[in-house]
């Protein structure tokens, strides 16, 4: 009699556990596939990201696949984000066109983000190559052939150790 009673509760517990795990995976699956897009009237978020400033060479037009085969050399300033900044970049919602977390993670180096720079910041970058820097700006996601990383930061301020210079 007692065994039957325990068995009944064990069954219920297993069912609840399966439902809980199922729901968790559905929520996790959906959140990874839903574009990180801002809802209507929601303002863009100004973010501060930290990381190592690197200069990378990408094959540009016309075929964007091989410099050796004649594509233009496209030098691009990238910020290799530290862990906390990467978390910010991966959770900040942006204006459309936006990608999902899954799309972003499919790239080989998702923690590297491109810096969309004005001319005044380019000189700063040349002077601080391979150094840890901080950038403040608005994020957007890659949407044209010219965007070589999945996340891009439209830089408004740049600096080191909390001292930022901007436009």
């Amino acid at each position: 009699m007692k065994n039957k009673y325990y068995l009944k509760w064990l069954k219920l517990l297993i069912i609840f556990f399966i439902i809980f795990v199922g729901c968790y995976y559905i929520v996790f699956w959906c959140s990874n596939r839903t574009p990180l897009v801002l809802s209507e009237n929601e303002p863009e978020k100004l973010v501060l990201l930290k990381g190592k400033l690197i200069l990378k060479l990408f094959p540009g037009p016309p075929e964007y696949s091989s410099i050796k085969d004649g594509d233009r050399k496209d030098y691009c300033w990238l910020l290799k984000l530290d862990k906390s900044s990467f978390k910010i970049a991966m959770t900040t919602r942006v204006c459309e066109p936006a990608n999902s977390k899954k799309n972003i993670m499919e790239h080989s180096d998702p923690e590297e983000i491109s810096l969309c720079l004005d001319d005044i910041f380019r000189k700063y970058c040349q002077d601080h190559i391979n150094q840890n820097i901080e950038c403040e700006g608005y994020l957007f996601h890659a949407h044209t052939i010219h965007h070589y990383t999945p996340i891009i930061l439209d830089v408004k301020k740049i600096g080191q150790n909390g001292t930022l210079v901007g436009q």
Binding site: P35, V37, F58, P59, G60, P61, P62, E63, Y64, S65, S66, D69, D71, D74, Y75, C76, C95, E96, P97, A98, N99, S100, N103, H107, S108, S114, C116, L117, D118, D119, F140, H141, A142, H143, T144, I145, H146, H147, Y148, I152, D154
Partner: protein
Amino acid sequence: MIYIKAQIGPPNIGEPEGRFTVQYFDEKGNLTIRSGGTRAWRCNNPGNLQASPYSMSKQRHSIGKVREGKNEYAVYPDYETGHLALVVMLRGTVYSPLSLREAMKKYDFNNPMYIDEIVKITKLDPERTIKSLSDHEFEIFWKAIEKVEKWIVGREDFIEKWYITSVHKKHGVITQCLIKKNENSLWVSKEEAVQLAIDGRLHVTLVHLKTGKVYLRPEFGHKPFEKVS
């Protein structure tokens, strides 16, 4: 011809690895291969948009994407659909409040000369916002973008998918098939028909038995082969 599906194909012999071809399939299963030209033309994507939830959404009517290296590009059934994807994006909430200079910086920030090329073509003030442009000015603007992105037509090869209309049978087994090619019909051996089916050139279903034998069957919903003898 209405294309319903597209996928990446291997580059032509002697061409660099990155110069992929694009295979388009119409509703009859016929294949059109685009090679050469520019990527924009090969993908029917005049704005060179990457594959994203925006460019691949139902409203944008994309028919596939091609992955090359790290990036994926949206493929559209024709120029008009691809062009519309670009125009809707430029008229959207992100690009329309921006000045032409800011918009082009967002579009291609690696090329600071982009805006100069646009201004040279359009003669528009780069400080004007996209939403302030009249319909005529906006047309000049997107035409300039498509010109800078380059739309160069390459080579298009059409490969028709054929039908088996009749068969010769011996002891209930197909020995020869009558294949309808365009307006002509041609008798081929079963082995040749199987090879054509493997190459994706025939509208048939291949049935592989454990013994290694292969049977040809009409596709689902199609009429049975007419038995001549």
